[in-house]
């Protein structure tokens, strides 16, 4: 008798380790970390507490700092996306993909029971595990945005 196949969990496909930054880090220090680690998104955590406050992507640095002519010393809290969307390691990848589809986002921060970052699950991680679910997320990303929707389903913290 064949055992029923277990659904893949976020913890099975997410990227580890996770590199975090603090809200007072600067655009240039985040860029240096991204260059060294090869990651394009880092969660922002409260120093000493570890609670996730938001997320910063390489695109944020380009569009919110470089393109606007701000200094590379601009602090992360001035351009991060606050209240990053998250999921848990035990969630199914179907649930994570559905959330990414609905919110039109490419990645979710994976948090543990203390709401601290345990990893990041991205569209690429989902697609590697299940091309069909990756297609579902892409379909969400490609659909026209609702007029009142915030980019990436989050609220932006402006300088």
């Amino acid at each position: 008798m064949v055992a029923p196949e277990q659904p893949l969990r976020v913890g099975d496909v997410m990227s580890r380790p996770v590199f975090t930054v603090s809200p007072t880090d600067t655009a240039q220090s985040v860029a240096r970390l991204m260059k060294e680690t090869g990651v394009g998104a880092v969660p922002v955590e409260a120093p000493g507490v570890g609670t996730i406050l938001g997320i910063v992507t390489d695109r944020d640095i380009l569009s919110s700092v470089v393109a606007r002519g701000l200094s590379s010393s601009t602090a992360v809290f001035e351009f991060m996306t606050v209240s990053a969307q998250s999921c848990e390691e035990g969630d199914s990848i179907l649930l994570a993909a559905q959330k990414m589809h609905d919110l039109r986002i490419r990645r979710l921060v994976v948090v543990d029971e203390k709401r601290q970052a345990a990893g990041i699950v991205s569209l690429a991680d989902i697609t590697r595990a299940s091309p069909e679910l990756g297609g579902l997320v892409l379909e969400g990303l490609n659909r026209p945005a609702a007029v009142s929707a915030q980019p990436e389903g989050m609220s932006q913290c402006h300088a």
Binding site: F19, D25, S29, R32, K35, S72, S73
Partner: protein, 88 residues
């Protein structure tokens, strides 16, 4: 270098100026990355000492300002113009 998943913040930022460059550094991990990837000197005693200090701090064997002090000395060795609130 120590694990990049760890960092220890400094009490004050250090700003290094060179022609056409300004580096602002305020944490041990970032100092380590500057020394490793963005430094004008390939080697030097103060640079080696600063990298070792950063490793000790990230491992929890020393206080963050020990890395900051060593970093300022490495910056002076590399002929940066150093701006810091508490630096010499």
């Amino acid at each position: 270098m120590s694990c990049l998943t760890q960092d220890r913040l400094w009490s004050e930022a250090v700003i290094l100026e060179a022609p056409k460059r300004v580096l602002r550094v305020q944490s041990t991990r970032d100092a380590c990355l500057c020394l490793k990837n963005h430094w004008p000197l390939a080697d030097g005693p103060a640079k080696r000492s600063a990298l070792a200090a950063c490793d000790r701090v990230i491992d929890g064997q020393d206080e963050p300002d020990a890395a900051r002090t060593a970093f300022i000395k490495a910056a002076e060795e590399a002929k940066f113009h150093v701006h810091s609130w508490t630096g010499e």
